[in-house]
C-alpha cells in the first residue's frame, strides 16, 4: 500500500466526517462538541468551541439563525436540538479570561467599510492573521444591522465588549468622511485591499452582488483588490450567520489576494455534504426542553438537559458488531493509518502486528459499513506483506500451519473412490474438511455412509485441508502448494464434484480449484431427500450461520430446511445470514490472539438464549468452549442416542489432531476393509485441568510422547527425589517442550507441560543426542 492507497482507504471510513449540524453551518461550528460540553456543564469548553469557529462569538452566539437545527438528526427522533438557544445560553455564561495571542504582524493594509457583522467578521479574521486593518465607520453607532436586535437578546454592552476584543486584535476604527464608498478608487490608493460591507445602514452601498459565478465563492468585485460582503437586500430577513460567513469569505480572499495566490484554487468549501452515517434505530424520540423564560433563554440546567438530547452523531456501526474492531480503541480509518505505519517501520517496535493478526477476516464490518470499508482485505494484504518481508511473528500462526500440514500429510489425507467404484467413475467426492474430520470423525463416517447410500457407485472421499490456514496466515506459497496437492488428488479421482461440509473450504476450493464444481453437503442432503430423524429433546434451536456462509444463501436455506425436517422450531439469533458473526476462529484469531478470541466466542454465545445449531465445526467448538450449548448439524442428522450433543465440551487441539488421523484409519478399516497395524503408543494420563492447560499452550500429546520417550531412553531428565516426578525438555521444530511426569503402571502420568521458543544454544546433553 502506498500513500495514495492509504488515503483512498482512509476516505472510505466515514467516522471522521462532520456531523450534520457542523456540515450545515456556514462557519463549520462544531455543535456536537458544543452540546457535549454543555451537557457536561463545561461552559469553559463550550466557550472554547464558540471562539474556535465564531467571529465575535459573544454577539453571534446570541443571535445566530442556526441553519444547523434544520439539519439536526435529532429531528427524526423528536425535535431538533435547539442549538441556537444553547449557543445563547453559553454566551450568557461568563467567559473565562482568554490570553490574547500576540500575532506576528504581516505586511498589508486593509480597509473594511461599515461596522455591520459582515464587516466586523472580515476585520476580525484579517486582524487575527496579523494584517493592519482599518474599519471605516459611518455616522451611526457601531454594529450596523446589529442594532435591530432587542436589548434583551443582544445587549449593547456585549457588542461593545466584542468590539473591544476586535481592537485588541489590532483593528483600528475610523469615521469615514470620504466620497461615496461605492467608488473607492481613493481607498485603493491608500490601502492594499478594500472590503466593502453592506450591512451597515449608516454607510450604505448602492452596490448589489455581481451576477457572476465567481462572486459567491470569492466575494471579489471586478476591480482587483476590491471585495464585498453583507450585500443581502435590506428588506430580506437578516441572517447573522450568513453575514458572518460572507465576511469570512471576503477575508479569506483578501488574504489570498495579498499573498498573490489564486482566489479559488484549493479553496475549501464553506458548507459541505457530509457522508457521516448515524444509526438512530434505538433513539427514543424526545421533545425539546421547554424554557421557563423564553425572554432570557435556557437556564444553565435547562441548557444542560437540552444539550443532553444531542445524539452525538457518530458512525461506529462496525465497532458495535465486532469486538476486534472495538478492542484497539480506534475505528477503521485510524486502523488503516496504524497498519500502514506498522508496515512502514523498518527498525523498531511493531506494536500493531497484533492488530493486523487479530482480524477474523470475516467481512462482517464490510457488510455493515455504508461505504464497504474492507478491513479484512487490509489485514490480509498486510499479513502477506509481512510474510513476504519475513517479519511475521513466527508464533502467530505456526501451530495452525503445522496442524494444516499434518492434515494434508499421509497420517490424515486420503483420496479414494468408495468400495466397488472404479477409478475415474467417482462423480462426487465428499470433502469433510480437516476440522470437522478432527472434531467429529463419527459424524463424518456417518455422512460418508449416507452419501454412498444416496449415490451408490459414484461416491468417493477426499480427506485433507483446504489450505484456509495458509491463506489466513498470509502464506500464499503454502496455499498454492495445498491446492496443487489437492488438485492432483481430485484429478486422480476423475475430477468429481466436490461435496464440502464447510463453507470456508468451499471458498478456498472455488478460488484455488475453480475447475472443480464444489457443492455444499447440506444442500446435497436437503435436495436428495436424506431421511432426517426427528429431534429428541430440545425442539427450539437457533441456527448459527458461520461467517463463511455470509454469501451463501443457498447453504443457509438448506441448513434451515434440514433443521425443520428434524422438527426443530427455529429462532433466528441476531447477526445471522449476511450479517453472520465469526466465532473467533476465522483469520486464525484464536491462534494469534486467544484472549480476544475468547471474548468473541463469549459474545456470540450470549446472543441467543436457545441452543445453537451450527454447521461449521469450529463454530460449534468455539461456542462450546464459551460454555454455550451448541450442536452440530451432523449430530442431528446422525444422532448418537446415548449423548446430549449440545452439551459436549470443546475439543482440545490434541483431540482434533488425533481425531483426524483416527478418521483415516477408521475409514480404511471399516469402509475399505484394510487391516492396519496399530502402533503401540505411550499411554498418557492427565487431569482435565492439565489437558486444558496443554490445549491453551498449544502442546500436542504426540509431542509429549516423543519427548518423554527420548528422555527415558537417554535418561536425560531431571528428577525430584521426594515426589519421583521427572522433568524433561526437547526441541521439536521451533519450540522446546517440557513435561513434568511420572511413569506409572497405568501409563505416563503427566503433571504439567510448558514450552518456549527461545533456544538454549549450549546444552551438552542436547548436543549429544
Amino acid at each position: 500500500m502506498d500513500q495514495k492507497g492509504l488515503r483512498d482507504l482512509e476516505a472510505r471510513c466515514i467516522q471522521e466526517e462532520p456531523p450534520r449540524c457542523r456540515a450545515a453551518c456556514p462557519l463549520g461550528l462544531d455543535a456536537r462538541a458544543l452540546c457535549a460540553a454543555v451537557a457536561a456543564k463545561n461552559m469553559t469548553g463550550a466557550w472554547a468551541v464558540l471562539r474556535r469557529h465564531m467571529p465575535l462569538a459573544g454577539v453571534l452566539a446570541r443571535i445566530c439563525d442556526h441553519p444547523c437545527e434544520e439539519a439536526c438528526l435529532r429531528g427524526q427522533a423528536g425535535d431538533p436540538v435547539r442549538i441556537g438557544a444553547l449557543e445563547r445560553a453559553v454566551a450568557a455564561a461568563p467567559e473565562p479570561r482568554a490570553r490574547p495571542l500576540p500575532m506576528p504582524k504581516r505586511p498589508g493594509t486593509i480597509a473594511v467599510t461599515g461596522s455591520g457583522l459582515s464587516s466586523l467578521t472580515a476585520a476580525w479574521d484579517l486582524a487575527g492573521k496579523g494584517f493592519s486593518v482599518t474599519i471605516l465607520t459611518g455616522s451611526g453607532g457601531l454594529g450596523g444591522r446589529l442594532a435591530q436586535f432587542p436589548e434583551t437578546l443582544l445587549p449593547k454592552d456585549v457588542v461593545t465588549a466584542e468590539i473591544e476584543l476586535l481592537k485588541k486584535r489590532g483593528a483600528v476604527f475610523k469615521p469615514y468622511d470620504g466620497p461615496c464608498v461605492d467608488a473607492p478608487a481613493s481607498l485603493l490608493g491608500e490601502f492594499d485591499a478594500v472590503c466593502l460591507g453592506g450591512d451597515d445602514p449608516s454607510l450604505p452601498l448602492s452596490l448589489t452582488a455581481p451576477d457572476s459565478t465567481e462572486f459567491p465563492v470569492t466575494a471579489a468585485l471586478e476591480t482587483p483588490g476590491l471585495f464585498a460582503c453583507g450585500l443581502g437586500a435590506d428588506d430580506a430577513p437578516y441572517s447573522p450567520i450568513r453575514a458572518a460567513a460572507e465576511g469570512r469569505r471576503a477575508a479569506l480572499s483578501v488574504d489570498r489576494f495579498l499573498q498573490k495566490v489564486s482566489l479559488t484554487a484549493g479553496r475549501p468549501p464553506e458548507t459541505q455534504a457530509t457522508r457521516l452515517y448515524t444509526n438512530i434505530d434505538g433513539a427514543v424520540p424526545l421533545p425539546a426542553v421547554p424554557m421557563a423564560d423564553p425572554e432570557t433563554g435556557y437556564s444553565p440546567d435547562e441548557a444542560q438537559e437540552e444539550a443532553g438530547r444531542c445524539l452525538d452523531c457518530q458512525c461506529l456501526e462496525c465497532l458495535k458488531a465486532c469486538p476486534y474492531l472495538e478492542a484497539y480503541k480506534g475505528y477503521p480509518k485510524v486502523y488503516a493509518r496504524r497498519v500502514y505505519n506498522n508496515l512502514s517501520i523498518v527498525k523498531g517496535h511493531h506494536a500493531d502486528n497484533i492488530l493486523i493478526n487479530s482480524c477474523m477476516l470475516c467481512g462482517l464490518c464490510t457488510a455493515i459499513c455504508p461505504e464497504d470499508f474492507p478491513m479484512a482485505d487490509l489485514c490480509l494484504s498486510s499479513r502477506r506483506d509481512m510474510t513476504g518481508k519475513n517479519v511475521m511473528p513466527p508464533s502467530a500462526h505456526e501451530f495452525a500451519l503445522l496442524d494444516m500440514a499434518f492434515a494434508q500429510g499421509e497420517d490424515c489425507a486420503l483420496a479414494r473412490p468408495a468400495p466397488g467404484v472404479p477409478d475415474g467413475a467417482v462423480k462426487r467426492a465428499f470433502f469433510p474438511g480437516c476440522q470437522l474430520a478432527g472434531l467429529s470423525p463419527d459424524g463424518v463416517m456417518a455422512a460418508y455412509g449416507a452419501l454412498r447410500d444416496l449415490f451408490p457407485g459414484q461416491t468417493g472421499i477426499l480427506l485433507s485441508c483446504c489450505g484456509a490456514p495458509a491463506r489466513w496466515a498470509g502464506r500464499e506459497d503454502l496455499f498454492a502448494a495445498s491446492m496443487k496437492t489437492l488438485r492432483a488428488s481430485w484429478e486422480g479421482l476423475g475430477k468429481p464434484e466436490i461435496v464440502a461440509a464447510c463453507p470456508a473450504c468451499m471458498d478456498m476450493l472455488e478460488e484455488g480449484l475453480p475447475e472443480a464444481r464444489t457443492v455444499s453437503l447440506w444442500e446435497v442432503f436437503d435436495q436428495s431427500g436424506l431421511a432426517v430423524p426427528a429431534l429428541q429433546g430440545t425442539a427450539v434451536l437457533a441456527p448459527l450461520d458461520p461467517c463463511t456462509a455470509r454469501n451463501r444463501p443457498g447453504v443457509r436455506d438448506a441448513v434451515r430446511s434440514l433443521l425443520r425436517k428434524a422438527g426443530a422450531e427455529l429462532v433466528e439469533p441476531p447477526y445471522s445470514g449476511e450479517l453472520a458473526k465469526c466465532c473467533g476462529f476465522g483469520g486464525l484469531m484464536s491462534e494469534a490472539n486467544p484472549e480476544l478470541a475468547k471474548t468473541v466466542a463469549g459474545r456470540r454465545a450470549a446472543e441467543s438464549p436457545e441452543d445453537y445449531a451450527a454447521y461449521c465445526a469450529m463454530c460449534r467448538d468455539r461456542l462450546a468452549s464459551a460454555g454455550k450449548r451448541a450442536l452440530h448439524l451432523l449430530d442431528l442428522l446422525f444422532p448418537d442416542e446415548t449423548q446430549d450433543p449440545a452439551a459436549q465440551p470443546a475439543a482440545t487441539v490434541t483431540k482434533r489432531h488425533d481425531g483426524r488421523a483416527a478418521l483415516k484409519r477408521t475409514i480404511l478399516r471399516e469402509v475399505y476393509g484394510e487391516s492396519l497395524q496399530e502402533e503401540a503408543r505411550l499411554q498418557l494420563v492427565m487431569s482435565p485441568e492439565t489437558a486444558a492447560r496443554l490445549d491453551a499452550r498449544r502442546i500436542l500429546e504426540d509431542d509429549l510422547r516423543q519427548l518423554i520417550a527420548q528422555a527415558e531412553a537417554a535418561k536425560a531428565y531431571f528428577l525430584r527425589p521426594e515426589t519421583g516426578h521427572k522433568l524433561a525438555g526437547r526441541r521439536i521444530g521451533n519450540v522446546t517442550f517440557w513435561a513434568e511426569y511420572e511413569m506409572t503402571d497405568a501409563g505416563c502420568l503427566v503433571h504439567n507441560a510448558y514450552c518456549h521458543r527461545m533456544r538454549i544454544k549450549t546444552d551438552a546433553k542436547e548436543a549429544r543426542q
Binding site: 531431571f718 528428577l719 514450552c755 549450549t762
Partner: protein, 72 residues
C-alpha cells in the same frame, strides 16, 4: 544485550539430574531467538550439562522477550 541474567525458577533446587544423580548448580548458558543471543546463568547438571528451564522462566521473562523480539 549481553548482560548475564539469572534464569532460575524458585523451585529449581528441588531437582537433581536423573542421569547423573548430581545436584544442579548454576552455569552459564546462551539463549537464542530470532538472531538475538543472551548470556544467562541457568541451573544445570555439573556432570553432563543438562540445563533446566523452569515454567516460571519459560512463561515469564522468556515469553516477554520472545514477544518483544517477534515485534522488533
Amino acid at each position: 544485550m549481553n548482560e548475564t541474567v539469572i534464569g532460575f525458577g524458585q523451585d529449581d533446587a528441588a531437582w537433581i539430574c536423573g542421569g547423573c544423580g548430581e545436584k544442579l548448580a548454576p552455569g552459564p548458558a546462551t539463549l537464542e531467538y530470532m538472531g538475538s543471543e543472551f548470556c544467562v546463568t541457568l541451573m544445570r547438571c555439573p556432570a553432563c550439562g543438562l540445563t533446566l528451564i523452569s515454567e516460571e522462566l519459560a512463561l515469564g521473562r522468556m515469553l516477554r522477550v520472545e514477544r518483544l523480539l517477534e515485534d522488533k
